[in-house]
Symmetry: C2
Subunit: 505 residues, 2 copies
C-alpha cells in the first residue's frame, strides 16, 4: 500500500496530467489554426482555445495544488533533489507560484493590451511609423514592470520576466556571457564584412520546384532522426514545431520556389525542435520531468541540427549528391565548395529573421541591451529608434534606413515578450558548448555525417539532454553535460574556425 | 432588466454553449484522427477525446441543468411551442433525460463491450466466421434492451433506440411507410434486373488521375454551394463530414485512380451534409435551435445533392463538358447518354455501401426488419445468417455466398447502433418528398442546373430546412415543408420515372 505522501504525490501528478491533456487539445487546435483551418473558422477557434486555456488555468490555480505542494515539500519525496518526485514538486511549485502571484485583472489587462498592440504594431511597421506604436510600447513596459513586481525578483525586474522563458537564468548571468561574446562577435562580423571573398549566391536562388523541395526536406528530416510515424511536416506562414502529445510532434515550413535555403534549413531547424520533443520521456508526459527545460535549450537543439550539422561540410558530403539528383537543373554543375560557401554566406543585414548564423547573435545582443535598458528606465521608449540605430551602426557598421527595418521589425514587444529575445542566443551558446562536448565523445562524428549517419548524435542528445526533462535548469544542465559553466568561447571558437576557413582570415 | 426566467434561460443557454465548445474541440480532434494524425498519436488522441467527452457529459448531467429545465418548463418561455426558447427547452430536456436516465455503469458496459466487439467483428468478417461474432451480438442486443428500458418507451423497445438517431420517429411510423415502399421497391429492382438494357460501365472505370479528380470534385462542391472559406476537403479512409464549429465544416473523400464515381459522388454527398451544417443559424450555435434535426434529415441533404441533383441529366448537361476537358483520355469521345447511363447503373448486389440509389433502400429495409425482430425476440441472434440470406433472396433475387458479404458486412451492430439503419432510407424518402416540393416551387429547376446554377435549390434548402435547426422534429418538418405526411410515393415515383426511361419500362 502506498503511504500518505505517495497518495498526495499521485494526486498532484494526476492533476498535472489532466492539465497536460487539456493543453495538448489546445496544441492541436493551434497547429490546425496555422495550417489547415478555413479562414472563417477563426472566431470559433479563438473561443475554443480561450475556453481550454481558461480551463487549464483554473485547474492549475486550484488552491488544492498549493496545499498538495506544501505538504509534499516537507516530505521525503522532495528530499533527493534529482529524484523524479523532487524535480516535479520543485517545478510545479515554480509554475504554480508564477500563476497565482499574478492577479487575474493584470493577466487580462496584459492580454487585452497586447492583442490591441499587435494590430497597431502591424500598421505601424507597414508605415514605418514609430510614433503610432510608442504609446502602446510605453503601456506594455509599464504592465511588464507590474508583472515583474507581482512575480517577484531578487535583483532586477528583468529577472522575473526572463524566468518565464529561461527559468533559473538571471540578467546578471546573461549580461556576463553576452558582454564577452559581444566584444569578439562585433570584430568577427567586421572582419568577414571586410573580406574580399564572397560566395556566389545565385546558386541557391535558382528554380527549386516546391514539390521536390518537400520530398527532399522530408527525406533530410527523416535522415537526421525526426520520426514521421510520430510526426508530420506541413506548410504554414510562420514555421513552428508543435509537440502536441506523446507520439504526435508536428513541424512546419514555408517554401519559396526560387530559394533553396529558406525551407530546407527551416525544416532542419524545426526537425531539431521535433527530435527534442520526440526524445522526452513519454512515461513522464504531463509532468515537468517529461517536459523540455526552457526556450533556450529547445533552441539549442534546433540550431544544432540547422547550423552545426546542417550547414557543415560533412553533412553536404552526403547530401549534395542527393540534392544534385533532386534538383539537376539548379545544381548539376555546381562545385562542392561553391555550394558550401553559398549556404554559409555572412553579411550584416537589417532583418533578424533573415540573418546568418554569425550576425544573428548581434541582432539578439542589441535587443537584449535595449529591452533591459527600457525596463530599468535607463532608456525611454520614445528614445528607442535613436538608440536602436546608434547601436546598430556600432554593432554592424551599417544603419537602418527606417524604423520598419529597425526597431519595429519584430512582433515580440507588441506581444509583451520582454525577456524572450536572449533565449535565441543562449540557444546558440548552449548548442556550441554541447556540440564541442559531442565532438569529444564521438571522435569520428564528421565521418558519420559524411556517410549520412546521424544516429550517433541523436542518441547522444537523447541520452544527455532530452531524456532528463526538467531535471536540471538550463545553466545547470550545461554544467552537468559539459563539465563547464556556460561560456561564449565554444561558440566564438566554432564561428572563427568555420568562417576563418571560408573568408580567409 | 431581464426577468427571472430570462436569467434562468440565459444560464441554461450559456451552459449548453460551453458544452458545444467542448464538443467542437473534440470534433476537430476526431477530424484530425481520420485525416492527418501520425499513427503513433493514436493512444494520446484516445485520451484527449475521452477526456473531453467525459467533461461534456459531466457538464450536461449537472443536476443544475435539470433544475433550470424544471423551472423554465413552467415559465412563459416554454409557452409558444415554436419560439426559440420553447424549442431549446424542449430539446435540451429530451437530451438531458436521455443522459441521466442511463446509469453510468451501463454506459461504461456498452462502451467497453462495443469497443471489444468491433475488434472481434473485424476478425469475424475477415474470416466470414459468424460464430465468432455471435456471443458479442447476443450481448449487445441484451445491453441495447437494457438501454431501451432505461430510456423508456410507450410501445416498442425499438422506439427508445430509434429516438437516439431520429428523435420523435417510432417503430410503428417507420414500419408503415417502409412496408408500402418495400412492396413496390422489390418489384422495381426485379424489373430493372430483368431489363435487357445495361450501361457500359467501362466508361467510369478508366484512368482518372487523382490530382485532377481532386480539382474537379472540389470545383463541383464549390459550384453547388459548399463554402470553402468556411470549409475544407481532405482525404480519408471512410469519408465523412464534420461540422466542427460555425465557419468550419470539413468534408472528406477517398480517391480511386481507376474509378470516377466513388470519389465524385462521395464528394457531392459529403458536400450536401456540409451545406446543411453551413446553413444552420450561427447565432444559435451551441443550442438545439442551431442544430441539425436528425440523422435522417441530414442524410436527406446529402442524398439530394448526390443523387437527385448529382446523378441527374441537367447536372451533367453542365458538368460533362467540363469533365471531358478535365479527363480527356477517359471521356473525350463518350456520348452524353452513355455517360449518364453508366453513372446510374442499377443492379442487385451484396454490399450496401456499393449499392445504387434504387437497390440501396432494399439493403436498409432488410436490416430494419432483422434488427427490430432481434430486439423483439422474434429472431434469435444465432438464426441471423439464415434469416438474412432468406430475406436477401426474397428482396434481391440473389443470395450471398457467405456471411462476410451477408450479415457480417456492416460495422453498425458491433458498435451497438441498433435503430440507426432506418435513418438512411428515411433520408432518401425525405429527400424525394422535399425535392418534389422544390420542383413545384422552382419551375425551371432543370434549366438552372443545366447552366450550372444551383443557388436556387441551395437557397430553398437554407430557408425551408437548414435555418430552422431543431424547431421541428423530422416528420413534422416534412409535413410543414411539403404540406403532406411522410410517404413513400415521391421516392418511388422519382425512381420509376428516372429508371423507367433508362431501362425502358
Amino acid at each position: 500500500m502506498p503511504g500518505k505522501y505517495e497518495e498526495l504525490y499521485d494526486e498532484l501528478i494526476k492533476r498535472n496530467q489532466e492539465i497536460a491533456i487539456i493543453g495538448s487539445c489546445a496544441g492541436l487546435l493551434g497547429w490546425d489554426e496555422r495550417t489547415y483551418m478555413p479562414r472563417s473558422g477563426a472566431q470559433a477557434r479563438a473561443n475554443q482555445i480561450a475556453y481550454l486555456s481558461g480551463l487549464a488555468h483554473q485547474k492549475f490555480t486550484d488552491p488544492k495544488i498549493g496545499e498538495l505542494l506544501k505538504e509534499l515539500e516537507q516530505s521525503p519525496l522532495a528530499k533527493d533533489e534529482l529524484s523524479d518526485s523532487a524535480v516535479n514538486i520543485r517545478e510545479i511549485r515554480d509554475e504554480y507560484d508564477k500563476l497565482i502571484r499574478v492577479p487575474q485583472k493584470l493577466v487580462e489587462e496584459i492580454s487585452h493590451t497586447t492583442t490591441m498592440a499587435q494590430g497597431i504594431w502591424t500598421e505601424a511597421r507597414a508605415k514605418s511609423d514609430f510614433a503610432k506604436f510608442l504609446p502602446w510600447l510605453e503601456k506594455i513596459i509599464k504592465l511588464e514592470l507590474q508583472l515583474a513586481n507581482c512575480l517577484g525578483y531578487k535583483k532586477e525586474a528583468y529577472d522575473a520576466l526572463l524566468d518565464n522563458y529561461e527559468p533559473g537564468s538571471t540578467y546578471e548571468s546573461v549580461v556576463k556571457v553576452f558582454a564577452e561574446f559581444r566584444k569578439e562577435l562585433v570584430d568577427l562580423v567586421a572582419t568577414i564584412k571586410d573580406s574580399k571573398r564572397k560566395p556566389d549566391l545565385s546558386i541557391i536562388e535558382r528554380e527549386y520546384p516546391v514539390d521536390r523541395q518537400a520530398i527532399f526536406g522530408q527525406a533530410a528530416a527523416d535522415a537526421i532522426g525526426f520520426d514521421f510515424a510520430s510526426g508530420r511536416l506541413d506548410v504554414t506562414t510562420h514555421p513552428f514545431c508543435s509537440g502536441i502529445s506523446p507520439g504526435d510532434t508536428r513541424i512546419t515550413t514555408r517554401y519559396s520556389p526560387r530559394h533553396f535555403s529558406q525551407a530546407f534549413f527551416g525544416i532542419l531547424h524545426e526537425a531539431g525542435h521535433g527530435i527534442y520533443d520526440q526524445g522526452l520521456d513519454k512515461g513522464h508526459f504531463g509532468t515537468p520531468r517529461g517536459h523540455s527545460v526552457s526556450l533556450g535549450i529547445h533552441e539549442s537543439q534546433s540550431r544544432m541540427w540547422e547550423n552545426f550539422v546542417g550547414r557543415s561540410k560533412p553533412f553536404w558530403k552526403h547530401f549534395l549528391p542527393l540534392a544534385q539528383k533532386t534538383f539537376p537543373e539548379a545544381l548539376k554543375s555546381v562545385a562542392f565548395d561553391d555550394f558550401y560557401f553559398a549556404i554559409n554566406d555572412v553579411r550584416p543585414s537589417y532583418i533578424r529573421v533573415e540573418a546568418d548564423e554569425v550576425s544573428y547573435n548581434l541582432h539578439i545582443l542589441l535587443r537584449f541591451e535595449l529591452e533591459s535598458a527600457l525596463l530599468k528606465g535607463d532608456l525611454s521608449a520614445a528614445d528607442l529608434p535613436g538608440a536602436w540605430n546608434e547601436k546598430f551602426e556600432q554593432f554592424f557598421g551599417i544603419a537602418p534606413k527606417n524604423d520598419a527595418e529597425g526597431c519595429l521589425q519584430d512582433v515580440h514587444w507588441s506581444c509583451g515578450y520582454i525577456g524572450y529575445f536572449p533565449t535565441y542566443t543562449l540557444g546558440n551558446l548552449y548548442a556550441a558548448q554541447f556540440f564541442a562536448k559531442v565532438r569529444e565523445d564521438i571522435k569520428d562524428l564528421d565521418r558519420q555525417f559524411a556517410v549520412g549517419n546521424f544516429s550517433g548524435l541523436k542518441t547522444w542528445l537523447n541520452k544527455n539532454i532530452h531524456t532528463h526533462g526538467k531535471k536540471y535548469r538550463a545553466q545547470k544542465l550545461v554544467q552537468v553535460v559539459t563539465g563547464q559553466p556556460l561560456s561564449h568561447k565554444p561558440l566564438i571558437s566554432y564561428l572563427r574556425t568555420k568562417y576563418g576557413e571560408l573568408y580567409g582570415f
